[in-house]
């Protein structure tokens, strides 16, 4: 695993999990550069599922700000080497 102080793109493993009646992705695990914003994950999901709006959560708990960096979210809320992202078509954890 790349050390924390390395500035080269450290990639984060994101595990996408469907919630409620949201369609399940064939490929659920992805790698994304840590320096990207969470908005990129949301956009990616919207494109993959062909939907305009999705509700996206972290650890089945809350929706992080789209401007947050993926690496920060991983450092704070990731476990087992990945970041668990839940997505739903309607509000799940209101």
């Amino acid at each position: 695993m790349a050390s924390e102080s390395s500035t080269t793109a450290r990639r984060v493993v994101v595990h996408l999990r469907a919630t409620g009646d949201a369609p399940i992705l064939k490929q659920a695990k992805f790698k994304i550069a840590g320096t990207d914003k969470f908005a990129k994950v949301i956009d990616f999901l919207c494109r993959q599922l062909h939907r305009e709006t999705l509700f996206v959560y972290l650890n089945s708990a809350f929706s992080p700000n789209p401007d947050e960096l993926v690496i920060d979210l991983y450092n704070n809320f990731g476990f087992d080497g990945k970041l668990v992202v839940n997505y739903a078509c309607s509000m799940a954890w209101g």
């Binding site: 102080s5 500035t7 908005a39 650890n59 809350f62 929706s63 700000n65 401007d67 704070n76 809320f77």
Partner: protein, 367 residues
């Protein structure tokens, strides 16, 4: 009734005087409308002011639907950042009133995430609150299990912010906004321990946790994690006067760090509160080392500087990076201040402590 500490009252009542100008491209009347003068609560958010601002300008707007956004000297303002934090971050020399420009058209979707008025702000607030709860407790059950009426009261108390709205029914004053907020949020049990310095008004002083820590010899140390949002503005040139501080013209100039800070209570009481000012000498200790009781001063603002230093290291910036300005709720805190006090008294309603810092990194000299 818990009325909160003095400091909490000041924070809650803090406000920024704004002078809001309608952008010239959207003025369709002659003469153009005069700017709107508004007192904005520090703990509030700019989109919540739109209902107050709109009447000043509605007659001058071109036809079309409103997509409101604010801008300071060309920089579109992120709407989910509390007004006070924006002011502390973007105005090193406080400008009174703060001159902002409002737009009702042409939302910069490439820079700002969409905002649909109060609902978007409320959603962002509740999610930040859940994030804080998650950081403090490891889960956000307490927020999700809030009753409907509690939720409504909590949001309303934040929305009405600093305004001194007391309703008197009979002989009893129904609580003002801060009291309502404290009453509802205390059910969430999101308080930070290790703080025996806050003096609460009108309530018996709580038993300090010192005795519990001293008798606890089992070795397991209770730690408190404080949610912190750190905004660092990197500047290159030195400036003595705040007026000469370089102006932020792009969000790329601001590094935003979101990381919990751990407090080890044992060390907090063992350490003296005074710390040295030179940042380069501050040791960066990772969490494993600290928990073995090395006696690192984690209970004070020094921890903040350590975090800053980590950030500096992450960006591979040289050792002579210098913190020019550190601001929380418009105050530059003394470095001896116990961090737990800062967290309990200066945090925003969504339980995050927002810290703004200007860090100077000299440019390498080209030969």
């Amino acid at each position: 009734m818990d009325r909160g500490s003095d400091a909490q009252k000041y924070v809650w009542e803090g406000a920024i005087p704004l002078q809001i100008h309608l952008h010239e491209s959207e003025v369709t009347t002659l003469p153009p409308p005069p700017p709107a003068l508004i007192l904005a609560p520090r703990i509030g958010y700019l989109p919540l002011l739109v209902p107050q601002i709109k009447p000043f300008f509605s007659s001058a707007l071109p036809p079309g639907t409103d997509t409101v956004w604010f801008e300071y000297k060309g920089l579109p303002l992120k709407w989910y950042i509390p007004t006070g934090v924006l002011f502390d971050l973007l105005c090193p020399e406080p400008e009174r009133p703060w001159n902002l420009t409002v737009h009702f058209r042409g939302y910069p979707g490439n820079i700002l995430t969409p905002c649909e008025g109060e609902d978007s702000v409320k959603w962002s607030f509740i999610n930040s609150l859940k994030e804080a709860a998650y950081i403090i407790n490891g889960n956000c059950k307490n927020v999700m299990n809030m009753s409907q009426s509690d939720q409504v009261e909590l949001w309303r108390s934040v929305m009405n912010g600093g305004s001194q709205q007391f309703k008197v029914v009979g002989d009893n004053a129904i609580s003002g906004n801060l009291e309502t907020y404290i009453r509802v949020s205390s059910k969430l049990k999101l308080g930070v321990g290790g703080d025996e310095f806050s003096v609460k008004l009108n309530s018996p002083s709580s038993k300090t946790q010192r005795s519990i820590v001293e008798t606890d010899t089992s070795g397991s140390v209770k730690t408190g994690r404080i949610p912190v949002r750190l905004y660092v503005c990197n500047v290159h040139d030195d400036f003595e006067d705040l007026e000469d501080a370089p102006h932020v013209d792009s969000w790329d100039k601001i590094a935003y760090i979101n990381r919990p800070i751990e407090i080890h209570r044992e060390e907090f009481f063992a350490e003296k509160n005074s710390i040295s000012e030179e940042m380069p000498q501050a040791e960066v200790e990772d969490e494993q080392k600290s928990s073995s009781g090395d006696g690192s001063g984690l209970g004070t603002v020094e921890e903040v500087r350590e975090t800053l230093r980590e950030h500096v290291e992450l960006c591979s910036l040289p050792d002579n990076a210098e913190i020019k300005l550190l601001r929380i709720q418009g105050i530059q805190p003394k470095l001896e201040t116990p961090f737990a006090w800062l967290a309990n008294n200066l945090m925003n309603p969504e339980r995050f402590l927002h810290i703004c810092a200007y860090v100077r990194v000299p440019e390498p000299i080209t030969i």
